[in-house]
């Protein structure tokens, strides 16, 4: 680990790492994330960025920030642990799915095919980290009134924004109603749609403490590779043998 303070914004380095990774063959990339708990201030910006990026409805959260208080007065500390999907290398959720609607890609991201998922929620039960949520079809703007629009006859309703789902997995999804992703299990996918176009995940970009590091964990030149080698590194629930691709620094 270098002992000097970083001379540039880690985001710039991660951006270069990403650009380099995308030049490799897809099967040679293995995405990984490192979250430095010492830097996380619990602002929850990553949670909000993720919700905004993926237009998550009520009750669906991909990335939460766990808050713990430790110690006794006056030696009390608060600890914040952002918890996205940990994209386990030995994921229990993919084994649970009866219709192969969720699997680990060759790049190590665990994804969900919304058109296959039957909504049995067995993967939610199987996940040790509560990283999956089910979309029960709720709306933030469900009870807001609709008014006829003044422009081109469109409805100027508050739910106009919410009606159009985000382009998760790089696909155009139909208007929010009863069809997918409503009724499906949903989870963090490392913002694959952003990665495809050379952008870092929303949570990584927005983190004000630069606590979230993302990149190709098999690239020795990448920042994430360097961080994974830190003696401070640990993973959540290591005893379960899930081998997450999201690491933490104490």
């Amino acid at each position: 680990m270098p002992r000097d303070l970083p001379q540039e914004d880690p985001l710039l380095r991660m951006q270069r790492d990403l650009k380099r990774a995308l030049k490799k063959k897809p099967e040679d990339i293995k995405w990984g994330m490192v979250i430095d708990i010492a830097k996380c201030i619990g602002c929850h910006a990553c949670t909000i960025a993720c919700v905004a990026e993926n237009k998550l409805p009520p009750g669906v959260v991909y990335r939460v920030v766990l808050e713990e208080s430790t110690g006794n007065y006056p030696y009390v500390r608060r600890r914040f642990i952002p918890r996205p999907c940990l994209h386990c290398q030995n994921p229990p959720c993919t084994k649970a799915c009866p219709v192969t609607a969720t699997w680990k890609t060759e790049q190590g991201a665990v994804i969900v095919d919304y058109n296959r998922c039957i909504g049995c929620r067995y993967c939610l039960v199987a996940c040790p980290y509560a990283a999956r949520t089910s979309d029960f079809g709720e709306w933030y703007t469900g009870e807001t009134p609709e008014l006829p629009g003044k422009l081109f006859g469109r409805k100027a309703a508050a739910n106009g924004y919410e009606t159009q789902p985000a382009a998760e997995y790089g696909r155009k999804w139909p208007e929010r109603g009863h069809g997918s992703p409503v009724g499906n299990a949903r989870k963090c996918h490392f913002c694959l749609h952003r990665l495809k176009v050379g952008m870092l995940p929303a949570c990584t970009t927005t983190c004000i403490g630069r606590a979230t590091i993302f990149g190709d964990r098999t690239d020795p030149q990448s920042l994430v590779y360097e961080m994974i080698g830190s003696p401070r590194v640990f993973v959540l629930k290591e005893e379960l043998g899930t081998r997450p691709s999201v690491y933490y620094l104490k």
Binding site: V64, C97, V99, G119, R121, A130, S134, F136, G183
Partner: protein
């Protein structure tokens, strides 16, 4: 069962269908929005009912085992009734779990993109196997009577029975013997399928290493015993209603008592080992069951009404068929509490420290209580099942076909 009681129950089930239809409307029009389960407790009342109905199918399995393995031939007379009960409970199970799925119309995916490593996939395979075994089995058991009813010009619906009999007007002893031989083969097949089927219920939960209360090799065995208990109680109760022969009821009562004690022993073992392990996740879940806000569901409904009173009745009045039937009825109606107490407590415990401080949205909390809509859907399914059973025993020769079955074992 008397004609009067049949009419009362038919009326009650129709009322149940009407009342429950509000819940069905909510579910079909608004999806899962009007329901109370969420992402931290994703399985609720309907999955508990699913386990309950699947357990009730064990009644036929029990009769088969006692008849063909333990050679209690007299119980074979209950064969058609037991098989018909299985089909009705499988229907209820199918309906209620379909309501729970996010996309029930996509279940064909199990054929197109199956995951052979998923326990849930294999459970569905065994459920389908049960249908494939029990439908022809019931038909073969009823065929003789269907032919007889199809030949009876005084019987209402004679043409319908002739149609069900495949147009047959005669039923020779050779055909009868062939049908009974096929029934025997189906019953032999049903034995290992049944054991794996009921064990698979438990395995779905037992293989999850992140669920400390469930993650035990004993859970599949507990589920097998739970199924035998609820299914055995059901078939004993139905035997009292439809074929009240002391020679049938008394041995069944003894069997149910033995299974009850075995089940309670395994349950006590699980609780004892759980507390002794002092693993936080297990102890917290057990505390929810034993001393939590729903302690009464465990102590009063399950232990007292569903176990202690039936055990007392079966021991003290084991030779009184009426008391045996009451004991079995108590076991059946309280068994949902057993299923809920297995399902909810582990889900209701946060699996990550700090998660309790993250969100307060109803779907992201482990506090779960089934709401009225969920109960109404359950009432609708139960009412449909009850009505199907009552009309089936009325319009099909389910009871009549059982008489004399023992000779064919």
């Amino acid at each position: 069962m008397t004609e009067r009681w049949q009419r009362i129950l038919i009326i009650l089930s129709i009322i149940g269908l009407v009342v429950g239809s509000w819940g069905m409307y909510q579910r079909l029009v608004y999806g899962h929005i009007p329901m109370n389960y969420g992402s931290f407790v994703p399985w609720g009342l309907w999955v508990a009912f699913d386990l309950f109905f699947l357990g009730l199918t064990a009644g036929a399995f029990l009769i088969t085992m006692l008849t063909y393995v333990f050679r209690i031939k007299l119980l074979a007379d209950l064969g058609p009734l037991a098989v018909f009960t299985v089909l009705v409970t499988l229907l209820c199970e199918f309906l209620i779990i379909s309501m729970d799925l996010g996309h029930p119309l996509r279940t064909y995916r199990l054929l197109i993109t199956p995951n052979f490593g998923s326990m849930l996939f294999w459970l569905v395979v065994f459920i389908v196997s049960m249908w494939l075994i029990y439908i022809p089995w019931l038909y073969l058991l009823l065929r003789g009577q269907l032919v007889a009813w199809g030949n009876d010009p005084q019987r209402p619906g004679q043409r319908f029975y002739r149609f069900l009999a495949g147009g047959k007007t005669t039923y020779t002893p050779a055909e009868q013997e062939r049908d009974h031989r096929l029934c025997r083969y189906l019953s032999y097949v049903s034995l290992p399928i049944g054991v794996i089927f009921f064990g698979a219920h438990g395995a779905i939960f037992a293989i999850l290493h992140n669920r400390p209360l469930w993650n035990s090799a004993m859970l599949p065995l507990i589920f097998i015993m739970a199924a035998l208990l609820s299914g055995g109680a059901l078939i004993t109760f139905l035997a009292y209603l439809y074929q009240p022969d002391d020679k049938l009821i008394h041995p069944l009562g003894h069997v149910v008592l033995l299974i009850l004690f075995t089940f309670l022993f395994l349950e006590a073992l699980q609780i004892f080992v759980g507390y002794q392990s002092k693993i936080t996740g297990i102890v917290t879940s057990l505390d929810l069951i034993i001393v939590g806000p729903y302690w009464w569901a465990f102590w009063i409904i399950h232990v007292v009404i569903g176990s202690a009173i039936p055990a007392f009745l079966l021991i003290r009045y084991g030779d009184n068929s009426r008391m045996v039937a009451i004991a079995c009825f108590l076991i059946i109606v309280t068994f949902l509490a057993v299923r809920l107490n297995y399902l909810i407590p582990d889900l209701a415990v946060y699996k990550l420290e700090g998660l309790q401080n993250t969100f307060f949205h109803q779907r992201l909390r482990p506090d779960y209580v089934p709401n009225l809509n969920e109960w109404l859907v359950s009432v609708w399914v139960i009412s449909l099942g009850l009505l199907t059973f009552l009309l089936g025993t009325r319009w099909l020769p389910v009871i009549q076909a059982g008489r004399g079955e023992a000779e064919h074992v």
